[in-house]
């Protein structure tokens, strides 16, 4: 990397000696605030130093690999700046962990209604940059629906705000939507305003359990077509078992009628009350589970709802040299964890990508053996919008300073 002592000294002058740290391959710099963050980016951009923003590092392997000259560590910018609980909004710095934010909001019985992976380590900025979401999305939508404003720093050091602190607002372009899921390639998220929801009370989970995922197709369709207004619904499966979990807001006086409605939806398949722990399935599958990184792959797959159970049944029949476990949210996002040899994984990844694309969905490889990254793009083929996306990248980061190559189509 082209990192000279002069660069190091210049960065130390911006943030203080103790907040610049070398490791074997790059330099970590930790700004205290948005002004320092902007100064670092301005310097890096002017000196052709590539930058990778870093939160908790939980998803740093997602996307195509990047070898940055500079790691911009956001852990010092970790404050919940404002919790206007009566207005049900909050302002949080990007380096705050998801769990720390939720704990602060819980003091007034509120939350950002989104369950992120590894919340104790994952930061607000990282969750947004990777557009993470899970089971609450069915009821509350994704980050796109929960973020109401953002402060972002562009590669040239421009500090820009979009949106605001009110839930309803159509003034100007929603830059925050562009930043959500952009993997830090357009700017560095510094501060975020969220709309909040009350923490759900009196939730009850039921499970409909069978062996064949396709048998859950009818119950899942019936559930989504019902007026039960589920908070969450997911299908978990492995080669032996398939389970449809349903979570409802459930007052005592509702429990009986809900039970009856679900029995009718289950259509003879066994229905039972279940523990809340089932909703941690995605995080369980996304983790390594003690398996070496060279033998596992984790995929995020998006499908039309009506294809979910069919696809899960197909996953149940993946040849036995690969162990496959999946959890599909009823809104169409599915996490598939595969364990097998590199060769076997490479074959199945290619096959699944073709199948998913034919179904009108998309497949993103979150994790795979390092050796496969050369031949398999995490994102797949560049979409038709690539020219426009490259143009946006050029407008926001003309020198390709931020996370070069990490995103779709080599952005």
């Amino acid at each position: 990397m082209n990192f000279s002592p002069a660069h190091r000294a210049a960065l130390a002058a911006l943030v203080g000696e103790e907040f610049v740290r070398d490791d074997a391959v790059c330099v970590h710099v930790a700004p205290a605030d948005v002004t320092q963050l902007a100064a670092i980016l301005r310097y890096a951009d002017a000196h052709a130093l590539t930058v990778m923003p870093l939160g908790g590092g939980t998803k740093i392997g997602w996307g195509n690999p990047v070898q940055p000259a500079l790691v911009l560590a956001l852990h010092r910018m970790n404050a919940v700046r404002e919790h206007a609980w009566q207005d049900m909004t909050c302002t949080v710095q990007a380096g705050c962990t998801w769990a720390a934010m939720q704990r602060a909001l819980a003091q007034h019985g509120q939350c950002v209604a989104l369950d992120a992976l590894w919340p104790e380590q994952a930061t607000v900025g990282g969750v947004i940059a990777t557009n993470d979401s899970d089971v609450l999305r069915l009821k509350y939508g994704g980050l796109r629906d929960l973020i109401i404003g953002m402060t972002v720093v562009l590669a040239d050091g421009t500090i820009a705000k979009s949106g605001g602190k009110v839930v309803k607002n159509v003034a100007g372009y929603d830059l925050h939507k562009l930043m959500t899921g952009a993997f830090g390639t357009l700017g560095v998220i510094a501060e975020v305003n969220f709309r909040l929801h009350p923490i759900e009370r009196s939730l009850q989970t039921w499970s409909i359990k069978t062996s064949d995922a396709f048998a859950l197709d009818k119950p899942l369709r019936a559930l989504l077509d019902s007026q039960l207004a589920p908070v969450s619904a997911q299908v978990r499966c492995n080669p032996r078992e398939a389970v449809l979990d349903v979570r409802l807001a459930s007052l005592d006086e509702q429990k009986h009628s809900q039970q009856l409605a679900l029995e009718s939806i289950a259509g003879g398949i066994s229905l039972a009350l279940a523990d809340d722990g089932v909703w941690g399935e995605r995080q369980r599958l996304a983790g390594d589970g003690g398996v070496s990184d060279s033998e596992r792959a984790v995929l995020k797959i998006s499908l039309p709802h009506d294809e979910l159970c069919n696809f899960l049944a197909r996953v149940q029949h993946i040849p036995p040299e690969i162990s496959a476990q999946a959890v599909a949210q009823s809104h169409g996002l599915l996490l598939l964890a595969l364990v097998g040899t590199e060769n076997a994984l490479a074959r199945i990844l290619r096959t699944l990508r073709t199948e998913v694309t034919e179904l009108g969905g998309s497949l993103f490889v979150q994790a795979m053996p390092a050796a496969l990254r050369e031949s398999i793009d995490a994102w797949g083929d560049a979409p038709a919008t690539i020219t426009l996306m490259c143009e946006i990248k050029k407008q926001f980061d003309p020198n390709r300073t931020l996370n070069p190559g990490r995103f779709v189509g080599g952005i």
Binding site: T158, G172, Q395
Partner: protein, 483 residues
């Protein structure tokens, strides 16, 4: 410049009758719902297909002709106002519902489809399309997309952007692209997210994939009468603080009640502040919450509480609310509708301040608002026939927007910036904010021909406190000048 030769080229790409150039016909398109800005377009095109739209936009691109797309023209911020010498692309002939996919809860429409027709197409299967601007019986999905339209029920269900999965878009270059998809989280930037609400400045949508929602088991609508806005406002805060998320919370002041009564006779109680609360969901949950809402209203000195006993009664309540803007004609010769947003808790103080500001210039301001999300619609009442009063009214309406920004809010919650609030954008956003938004604009529309001179601030108006001036790309390019 639209020369006869160029007009002939336009005529060649649309079906016969698809090009309007007669002045008396063009005048239909000179303004939208904000009638104090008018500009007769150079021509109006009425395409029937995506291919025709693409051909039209290609010609615009070749000859640097500004264009604006138009649905029903109900917008309230001048978003569909034509540019001088530009063309209007009307979607009056692209009104087909292309696909209804109940299982996946998607409906695909052409932009000219009327909002209420989407719900009509899926109602029999027990679904509805949630965004419900007051103009929903006439306004189009294309216009809703441009403005990111809201409505009374977006408190619970979200805005147009929440319900747009993907769009087929003709870029200002004439290129056709699909932004977003019918499935979630397609790899790439959220281009659909940034396109919705961009007020026609990034291109023209020709096909829109919408998400529909299962109709709730029960809907209950309550009216509560209060002697003061403060009590009604406290009630709203208490309802939210109790952990409820009503599908709508609306408030009207006495002037609005009076106007609505005169127009559509909704039989509202005569009071200083009327609160309308709607809850929906599973029956048991709704009934339990309705009890809670009643007791919160009582605790805040509501002196009359009514719950609609039939769907007809509920419809009448909403008819009164949705007719409020138009009903202003019953109590004032002219009026200006504004669309500020404030943090909900600032409601009482902002309303008192608006009252003071109005009294200082001896005008009346009627207030109707989406109280749940702090979206105010102050209606500044005036009489154009009195010399100078319109200017005073306009100035007051802009100062109200500045007040909203000062309180941590926004200049527009659902009507859009358009031509009307260009200047106020400079009050709300700093120069770097606006310059960053321009980067998006330039990526989509480097020539600046898609609905130019909207949304971004331009020259300073007399007497208006505005932010820094951002030159328009056309101006920078030397294509246009402002005086």
């Amino acid at each position: 410049m639209l020369t006869p030769a160029i007009l002939a080229e336009f005529a060649a790409v649309v079906e016969p009758g698809g090009l309007i150039t007669e002045l008396n016909q063009l005048q239909t398109y000179e303004c939208d719902g904000l009638t104090n800005f008018r500009e007769v377009p150079g021509a109006v095109l009425l395409p029937r297909s995506t291919e025709e739209v693409q051909a039209i936009v290609r010609l615009c691109s070749n000859y640097a002709i500004p264009f604006v797309a138009r649905g029903a023209g109900t917008g309230l911020s001048g978003g569909a106002l034509p540019a001088a010498g530009g063309i209007v692309i009307s979607f009056a002939r692209m009104t087909r519902i292309l696909d209804v996919d109940i299982v996946n809860q998607r409906v695909t429409v052409e932009p000219g489809v009327i909002n209420a027709h989407v719900t009509a197409a899926v109602a029999a299967q027990g679904y509805f399309y949630a965004p419900d601007p007051s103009s929903q019986p006439v306004c189009t999905i294309g216009g809703n997309v441009a403005e990111n339209a809201g409505g009374a029920h977006c408190l619970k269900y979200g805005f147009t952007v929440t319900h747009v999965m993907g769009l087929e878009v003709v870029l200002p270059s004439g290129e056709l692209l699909m932004l977003g998809a019918s499935t979630l989280d397609a790899p790439g930037y959220d281009l659909a997210g940034v396109f919705v609400g961009s007020e026609g400045t990034l291109g023209v949508a020709t096909k829109i994939i919408l998400r529909i929602v299962k109709r709730p088991e029960t809907v209950r609508t309550l009216l509560a009468a209060f002697d003061s806005i403060r009590h009604a406002g406290k009630t709203v805060s208490d309802i939210i603080a109790a952990g409820m998320l009503p599908s709508a919370v609306e408030m009207m002041d006495s002037l609005c009640i009076q106007a609505a009564e005169a127009a559509v006779h909704p039989k509202y109680p005569v009071c200083d502040a009327l609160l309308l609360v709607e809850l929906d969901g599973p029956t048991a949950e709704v009934e339990a919450q309705m009890q809670q809402v009643r007791s919160i209203c009582n605790a805040n000195s509501s002196w009359e509480i009514r719950v609609a006993q039939s769907e007809a009664e509920r419809q009448l309540i909403w008819k009164g609310r949705k007719a409020t803007f138009a009903a202003m004609g019953r109590i004032s010769p002219n009026y200006i509708v504004q669309d500020g947003v404030i943090p909900r808790t600032a409601l009482p103080e902002v309303l008192e301040e608006i009252e003071r500001m109005a009294q200082a210039v001896q005008l009346r301001v009627a207030n109707v608002f989406h109280a749940g999300d702090g979206n105010l619609h102050p209606l500044v009442l005036y009489d154009r026939s009195i010399a100078g009063q319109e200017d005073i009214a306009l100035d007051l309406s802009y100062r109200i927007l500045h007040l909203c920004v000062d309180k941590g809010g926004s200049i527009t919650g659902e009507h859009g910036v358009g031509r009307e609030k260009q200047q106020a954008m400079g009050y709300m956003f700093s120069e770097p904010d606006l310059a960053t938004m321009q980067r998006v604009r330039i990526a989509f529309d480097p020539a600046g021909i898609a609905n130019p001179d909207k949304l971004f601030p331009r020259t300073k108006l007399c007497g208006e406190k505005t932010g820094p001036y951002t030159p328009h790309p056309l101006e920078v390019a030397g294509v246009a000048e402002f005086f």
